[in-house]
Symmetry: C2
Subunit: 168 residues, 2 copies
DNA sequence: GTACCTGTAATAATAATATTACATATCAAG
DNA sequence: CTTGATATGTAATATTATTATTACAGGTAC
């Protein structure tokens, strides 16, 4: 099976002017192939959830998502939203932003990357970047005290270019 | 004014056997001096909150804290706890662990450090370490898209030495 | 075929976490 | 001793997350 995006690409240059609709199309296509490979189902709720995340420049809260799903007749209970989100996260199609208790679509699934997130505190926009470099240092620190790493969260809060201008 | 702990010391070797009561005393003394310098007030609620955080090896949730404050007649509403916690975090005396929606005392305040946290998913114990090395890479990434960094969160989830043994 | 197991989805109830608003009290500077 | 900033008290509400339960569809072993 063929992969549409090369690894370590600024696949979707978030916070920078670009044709985002094209990014959305590309990720959705990649995703279709990916779930087919994995033998799991991209059900209507799951597909729509991913689309909603993809179309939002900002992280989406579980209940914001639920409101939208409800409006479209796809379900009105928290669990609907959480399960869809859990599924997407579990399969690397979305990321949970701990800082916001909210979610974003993964703009380059399938890569098994170590993502880091730049979160604008003004508009909530989130840019996904890679943080391979930060990892080694953490591994050393963990080894020193015998801590066994399972998951690393790197989240940066600040101001995106747009909000710097507005605030200034 | 004199500082009691040299920078970049394993001031409190969390997750490792040591005399923690001594750590608590040291940090409280440091804190007294620090707030005096800053011209802010370490009120009873704030002081007691810090002590509670210091004495707990695990991160403390806002409502766990509130229960304890309430038992001691220091306040019964969520706001009380959140206000005290906000104060401590704002002044670098405590850290918020995003992963847990909970808080830990800073074991070496005043250093303007870049903390990283090792969080045991089994016992919730939290070890504070420094992650200076991870920072540079993030700064470069941010510069590339014009993002202005204000705060960096690095949280590692896994198993502490003790819980590895128990689980194994 | 029917009894059993599994995966998926939907519903309901509850628990945990967090914010807002406003009134009152205290402190510290002028 | 009064004013403005800081801190506290209280209430109500909002948001996020977990747990338990029910339903149904598809496969498979006897």
């Amino acid at each position: 099976m063929k992969q549409k995006t090369p690894p370590n690409d600024p696949a979707c240059p978030a916070m920078v002017q670009h044709d985002h609709a094209a990014c959305v199309r590309r990720v959705m296509e990649d995703t279709e192939l990916l779930v087919a490979d994995a033998g799991v189902r991209l059900t209507p709720v799951r597909r729509r959830t991913l689309e909603i995340l993809l179309e939002s420049p900002a992280a989406v809260g579980a209940y914001d998502l639920l409101k939208r799903l409800d409006a479209e007749g796809l379900g009105a209970q928290p669990t609907i939203a959480y399960r869809a989100l859990d599924f997407l996260v579990e399969h690397g199609l979305a990321h949970r932003i701990e800082r916001l208790n909210a979610f974003v679509a993964c703009m380059h699934p399938r890569e098994g990357h170590k993502p880091a997130f730049m979160i604008c505190r003004a508009c909530r926009a989130v840019a996904e970047t890679t943080a391979e470099a930060t990892d080694a240092a953490l591994q050393r620190g963990a080894a020193a005290i015998g801590f066994q790493i399972e998951r690393v969260v790197v989240e940066v809060e600040g101001l995106c270019p747009k909000c710097q201008d507005v605030t200034a």
